[in-house]
Point group: D2
Chain length 329, copies 4
């Protein structure tokens, strides 16, 4: 069965570059956890390293999650929110920074084990470049692959998932962290089986990908490790409520995840700047569960037949029946 989690920070405050204080107030941590646990369908939490969990407070966090019956789905080491990473973490031209990025990742791998968490989600958002003649494409690739290999080799009982994103905060992420296929190449290049890829659905939309095809590509190479869910208008990572903009794409993705036998978490990753965090996440769950119900009712077999035949007018008709069946003219 599908398991749903949420990044804890989604329940907190979120800022942008124009309103750096954020649009809301940040509740205390326990309140955020309590709210997460209260969302129907949510059984796991994704934590950001340093913000939410450290080597020091791991026992406390474990107890907190336990009290609320929440699993730890993943830990995201903070490779993006401190000035030290401003010019890159794993691909910084400063060897000391690269070393620190690896060290902090390893620390979070230990923390993950203590929390019974199977996966580290790597989103080193600063690992990119902004200007022409700024990116050093050859060294960056090597630095990235080496660093991830060093992390992956540290302990094999934890999986590492590279979360790709085409841009932001840099104007360009480096290849290996940019799109599904290059992240897959980077994962393969480490030579480690415990390195895979995270699809953030909104990142895939912004990259111009068909997210279902990205899932298929990664899964058939055995590297689809984790999923982040949110929605946007395809041109930017708006981190909106799942299903608020896209309909058909989510149905197709959920179909493929079943067919590809994806076993990982379905984790919510949103920025409800001006919305109540709990409500925004709850809406996402409602859409996802309703889509799943429709897929089940319509039947995986019938959907696979459509894919098998690949006839546009037939597929479109079937989708309308799936969504609006009782309103057949």
């Amino acid at each position: 069965m599908r398991r749903y989690s949420v990044i804890l920070g989604n329940l907190g405050n979120t800022c942008d570059r124009f309103l750096s204080s954020g649009y809301k107030e940040k509740p205390p941590r326990e309140e955020m956890v309590r709210q997460a646990a209260s969302i129907p369908g949510i059984t796991g939490i994704e934590l950001v390293g340093t913000w939410d969990v450290t080597g020091q407070n791991v026992a406390e966090i474990k107890a907190l999650l336990g009290r609320h019956n929440l699993a730890c789905a993943s830990i995201i080491p903070d490779h993006f929110s401190r000035k030290v990473w401003g010019l890159g973490a794993f691909t910084s031209r400063d060897a000391a920074v690269r070393k620190q990025a690896v060290a902090e990742t390893r620390e979070m791998m230990d923390v993950a084990v203590e929390l019974g968490c199977p996966l580290i989600n790597l989103w080193p958002g600063q690992d990119g470049y902004d200007y022409p003649f700024q990116g050093d494409f050859l060294r960056a690739w090597d630095w990235l692959v080496e660093a991830v290999r060093e992390c992956a080799g540290y302990r094999k009982d934890i999986r590492l998932a590279l979360e790709y994103k085409p841009a932001e905060p840099r104007t360009h992420s480096y290849a290996g962290l940019c799109r599904a296929a290059d992240a897959l190449l980077a994962a393969q290049a480490t030579g480690c089986d415990n390195v895979g890829v995270t699809i953030d659905v909104g990142h895939a939309f912004a990259a111009g990908e068909n997210v279902s095809e990205s899932a298929a590509l990664l899964a058939r190479h055995g590297r689809l490790f984790h999923l982040h869910f949110n929605d946007n208008y395809r041109s930017w990572d708006d981190d909106m409520i799942v299903g608020s903009v896209h309909t058909v794409e989510f149905i197709e993705l959920l179909y493929w995840l079943r067919r590809l036998e994806y076993k990982g978490w379905y984790s919510m990753d949103q920025y409800p700047y001006r919305e109540d965090g709990r409500e925004a996440i709850a809406r996402s769950l409602e859409w996802l569960l309703a889509f799943e119900a429709r897929i089940e009712r319509f039947g995986m077999g019938r959907l696979s037949q459509l894919v098998d035949r690949g006839l546009a007018v037939e597929s479109t008709k079937a989708l309308r029946e799936l969504l609006l069946g009782e309103d057949r003219p």
Copy 2:
């Protein structure tokens, strides 16, 4: 009540730059008309001047439409498919070409009257530019406004609607023919009440517009005259089956068209390159009618209340109920 039409050529063959013969065979005209008439919901036809109707064959076409009980919703003069227009029609640097563009439009206005058709849809797709330092923005604006004014003044009993599109076949359409707001400015600049704007939904998507807001902007200025329906992936004018990609956007648009009391035709404008034309149009009608049924069932009043309040989590919840109501978790 809403009236639905289809551009006759949608039932024929369609080519692209790589397969100039087209992917299918072109049926005889009467067969295309017969097919159009057989699509549940279709009661009107949009004709392309020169291709479908001329000053010479108008009686014959009138009889043909009559036999099939089809109204003529609009005529689109051909300002795009002949070499004479290659560097522009209304904005050609050649005065003789501009004059011809006006003359052919006037001829089609006469034809429209004979067919009982109220509207000429102007899509002078070659009126743009491709390269830097190629567009003459000041003269093009004047030429466009003057030419349309000359047409509009020819007879006041026919409405002219400017169909805007950001690009293709030129890399840039000139302002006045590019986006909703500039087309509105151009229509106003003619000083003629019988000049308005056509929204082609796919063009609006490709222009990065929120098509509902474009409709509202045009309608509140009294210039929303006509609508073309198709779907795409927002990055190009793919001319696909309505509803095959977008869901929420169509529901919002249909809501606004009711609220804005739009009285014109809902006309299908697709390029079913590899699909059976009749089937592709029939699918579009099915989606549109099903969306309308949902809007009615949910209630215009409730939707207007959402717009009135503007609360994201509430609007998203309502949309899920509208679409997937019975699958509320």
Copy 3:
């Protein structure tokens, strides 16, 4: 002659949603002003209301600018960086917020007069919407036009310029603040001659506009009041160094600004997140001045002849000569 200014905050610290503390340290205000004044070519400053100047400190700011021989090119009232504006300023559904937005604008108009500044740049970035069924397009248009009219009528000796931007921080700006043509419509709708439009070059790129054509459209309607310069990759408002990405587009724009006899400021508006602010602005000035030198050397007459003829291969050849003349093969 062209006059160049810079938004004071460009010399300070800049943050994004992932690194809310910013990538640098913020220098004291006088140091920022000193740095701005030291950039060759810069003779004016653009201030943000509340951040940089208030009704209380205006005499102090006037003295500060005087000491550094800097004119005040424009004031940007803060309609974006406080929680009160989170759901909109001029188009807030809360009448008290709309009233406050007008009142603060008027206060800044008085401040402008005291500083000898001719223009208020309005960028109410929160005046938009994020989700489907959230935007109230009809009321928002009315509220915007009314509010700007109220400001404009307050004193006719100050010009107001609407700075449009398609998105960010909202996923959609409302029409009237979204693209060149709708901002022009809104300015006209106020019925006030002292309301015009600001083109931020990066916003125009992100909107998919040909910025030269936008300038021509606004200027021929007498409403091109102000300009913000920066660069980006067309898909987002990256606020980069001018000329770092685009070359031909800037040359075409600078040509048109001369031809359109634009008399306003050329104001730098960048976010040098990871760069030294003074250096980043200095690079922009160097590019702009070098482009201008090339335009002068090549000759406005020859460029106008290209536009007059509109021949792609000829225009492209001329551009190469303008840029790389001595390397003619």
Copy 4:
């Protein structure tokens, strides 16, 4: 030294979906070859299989090229312009069509050998899908890899290069033919050393790639086999004159191609719809040669130092000097 070629059809007529007769007249083949040979810098020709060369006319074509001192740089089998390929060539659901696609490729490999041509450029543009629930991502990947492997194994003395493109004529190309990284994965998956990738610069722009980074990624994996040059506005494959839109990107790309020691052809691939073909290609050569001259004068060493240091303000300054050195303020 760099070698420049052109696709023969660029000198002919080009059509689009609105003007299927094309904007010009098609000259006789020998005239097209003569024109190509007359463009300063051009020493090679790229031919389209079936259109330009077949198993039957190969001796004649060889003589023709010989008369004009032109090498055959590459052959592009026609997998796109006939109705048989309408629903795909290598990934057609019809095994007979897939077989034919392989057979025709092999025939062209034999032709290539006869012409002394080292490379087959594979652009099976119909190998994609248009609608949701139409693409069969798993089977398409297998079919593609198998088919290319069958071709590659036929003779090892000919290299095969996969030309990726995100869309057009299908709304989506299948992974393996869509972006640089997935084409690389597909090439690797064949297990054949004589399979690599073609970068069409305009396709890379349209895919949102930094084309320099794509070149680096492919070259470091030993699979950058061929290059097509043209320009566009990043949103579509406009196939314009090289350098007419982008400047900095081409300089960065040419730098990287030198640094990566790319040995293949620089082949022009344009659609000069409304322009004289010879003139349009000649302009491209002039830009490329002028850029190369600037790179040489500025110095590869200095450019590599910029990349090594990765400092935005320094790189931007250097680029201005490279382009506009004598206009330093």
